[in-house]
């Protein structure tokens, strides 16, 4: 007979031990933290914590950690400041001191550009840079090409927050030999009505991230209509792939934290701050069920990643 309670008790003890060990591990690095680097988190949430963990693991000297509510005036004079998330970046940009070097990380490229324009409009600062959460459009379009090499028309939809990407999207599509079919959606539009002709006339559809509500609102219709018209969808997150997109390219919080940690080590070595960049590390996820439904034979995600890396190395 299986003794459920005994098993549960054993597991409870195991989990308790791990929890205590985890707390102790978090406390230990305090003694060797760097005083000349500060890590500012937008919040304590699982994704920010993952960025923080990756930075702490990668950095030669783990930076001191603060959150927005514990920041002091003196903190903004720390020689190296890492701001994780949009809110942390916004705060540190508004308190920016020219003697410091500020690296914003884990935030959208459009958010960084707009914040910088609004908060420091006067000039570009060589000592301010960023690592974005989003993928370069060129990488996403390239993935679309790898998923469906024979595709002629690329479909996409832009919302109010992504409308500014129109020119870049057109140029990127042209560069990959795609004709672009675009739908512009605002809050009062019927998504099925506007997406149907675009998807019906596309060979592959690329999802451009917009606000959460836009992303959530169009995702289900996009995936339904793509099934209906047998058009593969290239998403921007693992969640999109799980929900039915054929493939997505995305960077995890840990990957962005790793890159941030590597940049921090460069700063420790007094190297110049690299310019704002898209993630260097990324994953491709594919949904085999969607691929089978669409009768697509796809390489493995690792093979797709390798192909993207090789193509980008040739740029």
């Amino acid at each position: 007979m299986i003794s459920g309670m005994q098993s549960i008790n054993r597991v409870t003890r195991y989990l308790s031990t791990r929890l205590v060990a985890g707390i102790l591990l978090c406390l230990l690095p305090i003694a060797v933290r760097a005083d000349n680097a500060l890590l500012v988190l937008s919040d304590f949430s699982p994704s920010y914590n993952q960025v923080q963990d990756a930075i702490q693991t990668t950095a030669q000297k783990p930076p001191r950690v603060a959150t927005l509510d514990t920041l002091t005036v003196a903190d903004s004079r720390t020689p190296i400041i890492l701001a994780v998330g949009s809110r942390a970046c916004e705060q540190m940009l508004s308190r920016y001191h020219p003697d410091t070097r500020l690296l914003c990380s884990f935030l959208p490229s459009t958010a960084f550009q707009r914040m910088q324009e609004q908060l420091l409009p006067e000039q570009r600062h060589a000592n301010i840079s960023a690592i974005f959460i989003d993928q370069p459009l060129r990488r996403q379009i390239q993935l679309a090409r790898l998923i469906k090499p024979e595709a002629k028309t690329l479909g996409s939809a832009l919302g109010n927050n992504s409308r500014s990407l129109h020119t870049e999207l057109e140029a990127g599509s042209l560069g990959q030999g795609f004709d672009l079919q675009l739908a512009y959606l605002s809050a009062l539009d019927n998504p099925v009505e506007l997406l149907t002709p675009v998807i019906a006339n596309s060979d592959i559809f690329l999802v451009i991230p917009d606000s959460s509500v836009f992303n959530r609102a169009i995702s289900k219709w996009l995936l339904y209509l793509s099934l209906r018209h047998q058009v593969p969808v290239v998403g921007f997150s693992a969640s999109y792939t799980n929900a039915g997109a054929t493939a997505s390219v995305h960077s995890s919080a840990t990957q962005i934290g790793l890159q941030t940690g590597e940049w921090l080590n460069r700063l420790y070595a007094n190297e110049p701050l690299p310019p704002p960049s898209y993630p260097a590390y990324y994953d491709v996820s594919i949904n085999p069920v969607a691929a089978r439904t669409l009768k697509l034979v796809l390489p493995s995600p690792e093979a797709l990643e390798q192909q993207l890396l090789q193509i980008e190395a040739g740029y």
Binding site: G4, T12, P108, S186, P209, V213, R216, L227, P288
Partner: protein, 691 residues
């Protein structure tokens, strides 16, 4: 039914301006990283929150379209054979039942079954009638099965678990199918489905006719026609309205095949339903959902004919009665060939809000249900009704990296002066993005159904037989039990879930201990249990049992063209002493075998050697069991085979021919009743699909 009630369930919709958006965030704001971390909805059955299976606080099995098609199953309960912990019974040729962790009669009453969230549980029979749902298997997208009590999310009916049948979204397809099948039991079925747009609406229309002659021994045949319409409309980016309606009409023959000379009776059914669901994305992370539905079912069995009643009375009384008295007896008692007779309505409306508050994902809501049932067989005193309010919430708190706590509760208030409070807590440790360990604890309470609380019927004798010249009760058969309390289940569980890389499959393990107390059971009370005239059957919260065991589900893709699914469940059930007639001398009910099969297992192998050929093999095993009704059944093994070949017919259409052999290698075994024999059965299906 007062007329205003017909409209009351629509009231919440009147308060909404469906054409307008409540909110659409702040359009001037820039994107945040949270926009990239947006959860694209997946499974919601366990908590109403969108969750990956590694994050769910319960074990969930998904039966998708690929599995439905490959299984060759001809009804939904047969699909439950592919879910660990479930047992499926063919009560007769056309009456099916499924139960989780056994312990059931032919009317399993402790599972909630929903179609797109609409409960199809029948208050009149305290179970689900699978042959009047107005749905065919080709209309199903997937079935989400929550294994273990899910009352904190779905309410009383989900005492042992819940089944949510997700139908195909109208916008997801264009085109349709026509299928015809025939085979064993003289089956002749025709189904169709068609999806298209009508203005700004997307719709699916499906329907069909099913008939068979049942078994040779009982002639327990079936005939039914159904029609179903499902539509969706999205007036704005953030608003969606779904509408579903359907009818199902026909008949089945019902009876108990425990006696070889049992006569089955025709039971007609007429059912219809109307269902509305409105969803609004009111903020970056918030969703408002309103639902309202109405279910109607009218079951009809014939009045017993004069000759049968006359013979019955002669046997009971020892001498024949004059025809006038037999007629008077029939007028007084309206005896019917079977008890499955009556009309039942369910009206339900619910408001639900889902949002994210920092590290918390929260869902909460309020629901109202009105149930009515009338039956001159089961509820002789007249129509009975019940109103139920429910307040529920579920919170998922990611309190540390890789750790989350999920807590949910459900409070239900019944107009019968009974309240319930059910809750579930689960501590989930995510080992990596692919796997998690879960420790769960829950206490759930179940409100008695209308039937359990109010079932009553007596046999009245004509006045001429009484010394004082008045009609009198000849035999009290069932008495109502208005003061029934709630049933209770306490569950401890340990779960492990791991999905293999690249969606190649998963392992799902659940170790459980369930303690069920205050379970409603019928028993005779009275002066003399052996003298049927001096006893009456009532219900009370007097029974209980404990289940301990483990469930395993393993799915693995083998190459690109094959997969294997393995399910195994071990359950050790210990029943409490169950004493009849406790008020008097008492008599313990003895079970010859476990009331839950100790071992249940199933295996599915599917292989597509070419893109157009689909082969599958299913093997099912169920250990011996002592059902509460139907008696002891030996263990059985059954193997089903299916082969389907597809041919393209030009662009946009294809033809598929499939042959399914159930119990292919024998031997014939007993399904639920001694004389309900399941022999080798063969079906051929032709399906034309067009796009």
């Amino acid at each position: 039914m007062p007329h205003y009630r017909d409209l009351l369930w629509l009231a919440p919709f009147c308060a909404l301006n469906l054409g307008g958006s409540l909110a659409y965030g702040d359009e001037s704001a820039y994107l945040s990283e949270q926009d990239f971390l947006t959860d694209i909805p997946e499974i919601t059955s366990a908590t109403r929150l969108s969750q990956r299976l590694t994050e769910a606080p319960a074990s969930i099995s998904i039966i998708n379209r690929e599995m439905i098609r490959a299984s060759g199953a001809r009804n939904i309960p047969d699909l439950m054979r592919l879910v660990p912990g479930f047992q499926t019974m063919h009560v007769s040729a056309n009456k099916f039942a499924t139960t989780y962790h056994g312990a059931s009669d032919n009317f399993p009453r402790r599972l909630e079954v929903m179609i797109d969230g609409r409960s199809v549980y029948l208050p009149l029979l305290a179970t689900v009638d699978w042959t009047s749902l107005g749905l065919n298997l080709d209309e199903i997208e997937q079935i989400e099965v929550v294994r273990g009590s899910n009352v904190p999310t779905q309410g009383s009916n989900a005492f042992m678990g819940s089944i949510n049948i997700i139908t195909r979204e109208p916008a997801a397809a264009q085109g349709g199918y026509v299928s015809a099948s025939g085979g064993s039991l003289d089956t002749r079925d025709l189904h169709f489905g068609h999806a298209d747009n009508l203005g700004l609406w997307s719709y699916r229309l499906s329907g069909g006719h099913e008939q068979n002659d049942g078994t040779d021994l009982y002639g327990d045949r079936l005939s039914r026609n159904y029609l179903r319409l499902s539509g969706s409309y999205t007036p704005t980016l953030t608003d969606t309205l779904w509408l579903q309606a359907g009818v199902d009409r026909g008949y089945t023959y019902v009876g108990q095949s425990d006696q070889i000379d049992e006569t089955f009776s025709r039971r007609d059914h007429q059912s219809n339903y109307q269902y509305l669901r409105y969803q609004n994305l009111y903020s970056e992370s918030g969703t408002l959902q309103l639902t309202a539905y109405h279910n109607y079912l009218n079951l009809g069995t014939s009045l017993t004919d004069f000759a049968t009643v006359d013979a019955f009375l002669e046997e009971a009384l020892g001498s024949p009665l004059p025809p006038s008295l037999v007629n008077e007896f029939m007028a007084l008692n309206r005896p019917r060939d079977d008890a499955e007779h009556g009309i039942t309505h369910t009206y339900d409306t619910e408001l639900q809000l889902t949002d994210r508050l920092g590290s918390f994902n929260v869902v909460g809501g309020l629901g109202y249900r009105y149930e009515s049932a009338e039956s001159d067989m089961l509820l002789q005193s007249g129509k009975v009704t019940e109103e139920r309010w429910r307040l529920f919430s579920n919170l998922n708190w990611a309190f540390a990296p890789s750790w989350s706590l999920n807590s949910g509760f459900m409070f239900e208030n019944s107009s019968e002066q009974t309240d319930t409070l059910s809750y579930r807590h689960a501590l989930i440790h995510t080992l990596n993005t692919q796997s998690s360990v879960r420790l769960g604890y829950s206490i759930s309470e179940r409100l008695p159904s209308l039937l359990e609380r109010f079932a009553n019927n007596n046999i009245y004798a004509p006045a001429a037989l009484s010394p004082d010249g008045e009609v009198f009760v000849y035999d009290y058969d069932n008495a109502a039990s208005p003061n029934l309390g709630t049933e209770r289940i306490k569950t401890h569980e340990l779960g492990y879930y791991q999905s293999f890389k690249h969606n190649q499959g998963y392992v799902d393990l659940r170790v459980f201990q369930e303690r069920l107390t205050s379970i409603i059971s019928s028993y005779y009370t009275g002066i003399d249990e052996e003298d049927y005239r001096k006893r009456v059957s009532i219900n009370r919260n007097g029974f209980g049992w404990e289940n301990r065991g483990a469930e395993l589900q393993l799915k693995r893709r083998i190459g690109d063209n094959a997969f294997a699914l393995l399910n195994y469940t071990y359950t050790n059930t210990r029943t409490d002493p169950w004493v009849h007639n406790k008020d008097l001398q008492g008599a313990a009910v003895m079970f010859e075998d476990s009331t839950t099969p100790e071992h249940t297992a199933s295996l599915m192998l599917n292989w597509k050697p070419t893109p157009d050929l689909n082969l599958s093999l299913m093997h099912y095993y169920m250990d011996s069991v002592d059902w509460f009704e139907g008696d002891d059944r030996d263990s059985y093994q059954r193997t089903d085979l299916r082969a389907a070949q597809r041919w393209a017919l030009g662009t946009g259409s294809e033809l598929e021919a499939a042959v399914t052999v159930q119990n292919a290698f024998g031997p014939t075994y007993q399904e639920f009743y001694e004389h309900n024999l399941f022999d080798r059965r063969i079906w051929l299906q032709l399906m034309l699909r067009y796009h």
